[in-house]
Symmetry: C2
Subunit: 376 residues, 2 copies
């Protein structure tokens, strides 16, 4: 698979026909100097009203994309049940924007993009923080004529991006609706991220990040995805769905193991294999690294005198916070700590779910109710 194949694969995850592009020129980065020739790819639904007061920014998670909703596209969005005409984020009422994050592989400038010298960025792509992505999105808001978002909303890394928006540009965010996220990546989140990074970097196809003329390190990406996916689900959900069942036609307790890759699997292994294969078809390993490192850097208080001082400036922002009851990656207690540190503490809503972290994607009815409650 070459770079062009990978890009095509990647772009299958979004409907290219719906993508808009904004050229940002040279972008100043928080700690990495400048990124020249940057652009953002984004999608929109609905119509901006005359005073530009009905704009909503929907922020995707680590491996998500701008394709939050279907729109004219044939392909359903990742928050299909929440974003659309008459839905919780009503595209007949709101002008909804979703940008592919800087550093990703769905059209915004990332490691697989062509640098000014005509070669893919690869290993030369700069370290990014979530603040860099928010700065880029602020330029998008400027270009669209949006002085203040009616709401910025997201879950997981999308929640961290929404929080960073509220702290970076409090005057530009009326509602911040944040699901399954926290104020700063924790030691455990960093630890799990490191294993995912190493899974990719230890793949011999990684070649230090300059693999675009050859096969990309998809085995490594697949392993990273498996590690991550376990953390996205709950123990009890995996137990209930899979237990110790063997994959159909396979014999995990048999003489056939020796020296082979796992061809005789338990059902939960087949499930993880499927998740790995699926992501490997649509995601660039370098983007996975770049965004994982950006998420590791997530810390609202960094360079701002700590969390409480950073949040002081958000007194004009209306926060709605929700945690998934069974989330073991972004613990409900971490959301409670964030809530308590706000200038006007709010109560954290609980999304009741057995699924774990991924509840921010699956529990759409509860999220719709939360959005309705937010006064949004």
């Amino acid at each position: 698979m070459t770079i062009s194949d990978l890009s095509l694969e990647a772009l299958r995850g979004v409907d290219v026909s719906q993508l808009h592009y904004l050229e940002l020129g040279t972008l100043s980065l928080e700690v990495s100097g400048v990124l020249p020739g940057a652009s953002l790819a984004y999608e929109t639904w609905g119509t901006l009203n005359a005073d530009a007061s009905n704009a909503v920014l929907v922020q995707h998670a680590l491996t998500g994309s701008s394709h939050a909703a279907q729109g004219e596209s044939a392909q359903p969005g990742w928050w299909q049940e929440l974003v659309g005409p008459g839905k919780a984020v009503d595209t007949e009422k709101y002008f909804v924007v979703a940008a592919n994050i800087l550093g990703g592989c769905y059209g915004s400038t990332g490691p697989s993009s062509i640098a000014p010298d005509g070669e893919p960025w690869g290993s030369r792509f700069p370290f990014l923080t979530l603040r860099d992505s928010v700065q880029a999105e602020a330029r998008l808001a400027d270009a669209l004529g949006i002085t203040r978002w009616h709401a910025v909303i997201g879950g997981s890394m999308g929640g961290a991006r929404a929080l960073e928006w509220a702290v970076s540009f409090p005057e530009r965010v009326l509602h911040a609706i944040v699901l399954a996220a926290c104020a700063a990546s924790t030691a455990e989140q960093i630890a799990l991220a490191q294993t995912q990074i190493l899974a990719i970097q230890q793949d011999p196809r990684y070649q230090g990040g300059d693999y675009y003329q050859d096969d990309p390190p998809l085995n490594g990406l697949g392993l990273a995805r498996r590690i991550a996916h376990i953390s996205y689900r709950s123990e009890s959900e995996l137990a209930a769905r899979f237990g110790r069942q063997a994959q159909q036609g396979e014999l995990p307790v048999s003489a056939q193991r020796a020296g082979q890759l796992r061809l005789q699997r338990y059902q939960v292994e087949s499930y993880l294999d499927h998740k790995a294969a699926k992501l490997s078809q649509i995601f660039d390993p370098n983007s996975y690294l770049t965004l994982t490192e950006a998420l590791m850097s997530h810390d609202l208080g960094r360079g701002r005198g700590g969390l409480r001082a950073a949040l002081e400036r958000t007194s004009g922002v209306r926060f709605s916070l929700a945690a998934v009851s069974s989330d073991r990656l972004y613990l409900p207690s971490q959301m409670a700590e964030l809530a308590a540190a706000l200038p006007k503490p709010v109560q954290v809503h609980q999304i009741t779910s057995e699924i774990g972290h991924d509840g921010f994607l699956t529990e759409t009815a509860q999220i719709a109710a939360l959005i309705a409650q937010s006064g949004f």
Copy 2:
């Protein structure tokens, strides 16, 4: 590093001078035919009494060894504070035996051992179950003249081995003291195990398992160890110890990341790197795979009509069960399920600890109290 270097490194983990060996000849395996030329390496402390009624079998965990206690050796054992003269497992009173598990790399026959054809087993080493290791240990008990163990005791995989002893040979076990284990490996435990297996098998040095003439896949082993180690500790312990601190002299939020291995680290990453490096010096990756797959196969009820039917036969065994309060790999609820399935249900003791699963190694005072309570 060649096979001989690796063996030497591995053997540094135990005091070779204390190792005894028992030749088992050809061993019949549960599902993989036979293992010819098998032997067990073991250590003992104390003296077997005249009626052989004071023998205690201490079972090590996944990467542990027979070196549970110091004895004459200069090197402390992994349960140093529990096994020794006057300690909870009193070697002045009991004859204590610890065997290196079949399939390991501390002297018992494993993948790095020389097969009958003069070459290392490597990829040809058979798939083993924990029942196979217990069968081998029963031959050791026979050879030592031990008809019935006064106690079999272990935590984590050592706990699974103790349980399998109680079910395989209920008439040969008086007390079974089981810590931080469960009746059958769960979907999540299997899922985490798969990621660790792939981490090793995707290392280019793995060579299908036949790497003994070359460098072993230690990067893969190190990654497997990191994934495992996160599951051995608790979120709160990692947060309290490391938080988001940078490793001294390193700048994880800096321009220096691009395309490099993680040289600019958070402190928790350095901690995981250390754990990975340490295991890579003393453990054979093929043994890690073999034992991980054996642990995945752990299921007391397999082929025995289910868990309750399997446990029926243990009515003469006195069980003492304990779970670590913060264990997220072997959940206290799983131990409670096991306890409830016993023919005479027992109450599960709680080892109160913030550390997580590794509490079975660190909370020695509570474990000593538990052993004392057991009437052992």
